[in-house]
Amino acid sequence: MGGCSGDYQALLGQLQQQMALMQDTSTLLDPFMRLEGLDKLRFSEHCTERPGAFPSDNALRTLGRRDFLRMLSSTLQRVLHRLAVLQQHLPETQDLEELGVARWNILGLKNNIYCMSQLLGGASELAPTTAAPGTSPPPTPAPDAFQSKLQGCRFLHGYHRFLHSARRVFSQWGSSPSRR
């Protein structure tokens, strides 16, 4: 992980900025839908988040700060794996550039989460060993191309919603790093 800033306010601001950028569906979901031909009005109703794929809004809000950071880190770790799988299904000639950018952004975000956890005195527990509580294991590999597309867009829909929810939790953090 990169070096950590000890400035709580600066770190919190950075985290919120990163998430504000990454929660925007134009950074990943929309280009994926275009590439797969799912960017059709009538199809969008089917591209909804699969329940249990990501921690719910409520689950995020009820966690203590350190548990919340741990959940964030392990969920993002899972996203990285899933994005690698998505990459394999893409045609060589049409690399999804946004996928590569998203993976760098996630690594940057995880780094800041680690720094915030260190600042709160709990970084060592961030090793992503256990699955995030409140999330079900990834779906079985898609049997065919259509299911693979459907699972992909549902997953990315959930990813953006999860970042949106997590950002809202950060926005309710006070101005000082008091433990809770």
């Binding site: 590439l35 797969e36 031909g37 799912l38 059709k40 009005l41 009538r42 199809f43 089917h46 299904h89 893409l90 045609p91 060589e92 000639t93 049409q94 049997p143 065919d144 191309a145 259509f146 597309k149 459907l150």
Partner: protein, 360 residues
């Protein structure tokens, strides 16, 4: 023997196809025959029966059909699983312009199912209480990640991706040449790329008739062939282009000595440059024993070609450029060709020089 085969769909009385298959038969031999259904086999139960007849002039009296076999039932729907809505065929690969039949199977009797091709709702033909079929004609290529067809009932959505590939073209401008009598460089224009995400299968193979040798090429528009030293002069190459759906080939016949394109000359230099003369020298890559090249020298002054000469060269080329103007900048360029048969010239190489000032 001649075998007559009947195929029915949904029930044995609904015969949809009849055909004959003739072949010679040996004792206890197992015969194979295949038939491709335009309707995905998952969409309907199929029935098949067969009868035979000896078709041999030496047994004229035996030209009567045997009895029909009993109907053989082919039902895939039992193995489909628990879902209530299915769409077939899965991940089918077809060529642009072909016709495709898609079907959905609904396990319950609700008929509030709508199906869309990309974003357009389309109507199907009911084949039986649970099965609807959709005939797509002349399907276009839309994108490499496939054409989406899906059916929805309330929140349930099931679909398929139809992988429509462009039609493989016959390679154009297929030709081979050598620079050194060691390697033949074959090139061609492959035309459209027909590879898709899960169906990247477009490949090229070189086959040489006289040697019987074959080579799978790594690239889609060029391939090297090692010239064996058994002094084979004539080559009959067939370039085979294929993908999962189609195969095409083109052939060329040529004499090796008529396909020599020398490498670009090198080390151009000017020695003993005077006010009005310059000795131009250059080197050429050897192209086998006893071979010489014809080199073309052009001299440019003030942007205009002012001299042109042909020089025969074996290893080192030289030419005296004369009648030059003092204290003037010139550019000379040289290229070479195989003197026995000019197939193609090498690339040019050029170099500039300035003549000396005239003596006072």
């Amino acid at each position: 023997m001649v075998f007559q085969i009947q195929i029915s769909r949904f029930n044995s009385s609904n015969i949809i196809w009849v055909g004959n298959y003739s072949t010679t038969v040996k004792q206890n031999q197992v015969l194979h025959w295949s038939w491709e259904s335009e309707l995905p086999l998952e969409c309907a139960t199929h029935f098949l029966r067969i009868r035979s007849m000896v078709d041999d002039a030496s047994f004229p009296k035996s030209t009567i059909w045997s009895n029909w076999s009993s109907w053989e039932k082919v039902d895939v729907q039992d193995s489909l699983g628990q879902d209530t809505l299915f769409v077939f065929p899965n991940d089918k690969l077809v060529e642009e312009g072909s016709n495709v039949t898609i079907c959905y199977i609904s396990r319950n009797n609700q008929n509030n199912i709508s199906c869309l091709l990309e974003d357009e709702q389309i109507n199907g033909e009911q084949l039986d209480p649970h099965v609807f079929a959709f005939n797509l004609n002349n399907v276009p290529f839309i994108r490499e990640t496939g054409t989406n067809f899906y059916c929805q009932r309330n929140k349930t959505v099931k679909g398929i991706v139809l992988f429509v590939s462009k039609v493989l073209e016959e390679p154009k401008d297929f030709s081979c040449e050598t620079q050194d009598f060691k390697t033949l460089n074959c090139t061609w224009d492959p035309g459209r790329n027909t590879d898709l995400r899960k169906h990247a299968s477009q490949r090229y193979t070189l086959f040489e008739f006289y040697s019987g040798e074959k080579k799978l090429c790594k690239h889609k528009n060029w391939c090297n062939w090692q010239i064996t030293q058994d002094s084979q002069e004539t080559y009959n190459f067939t370039l085979i282009a294929e993908n999962d759906l189609r195969k095409r080939s083109v052939s060329i016949l040529f004499n090796l000595t008529q396909r020599v394109r020398p490498m670009t000359p090198f080390s151009v230099s000017f020695e003993t440059v005077s006010a009005t003369n310059a000795m131009m020298t250059w080197k050429v890559h050897s192209i086998g024993n006893y071979s010489s090249l014809l080199c073309n020298v052009e001299l440019y002054g003030e942007g205009r070609m002012i001299q042109q000469h042909n020089v025969s060269v074996k290893v080192n080329g030289e030419f005296l450029l004369s009648e030059l103007e003092p204290n003037t900048k010139y550019t000379a360029q040289v290229r070479c060709a195989y003197d026995k048969h000019i197939w193609k010239w090498s690339e040019w190489i050029s170099q500039s020089f300035i003549t000396l000032e005239a003596a006072p």
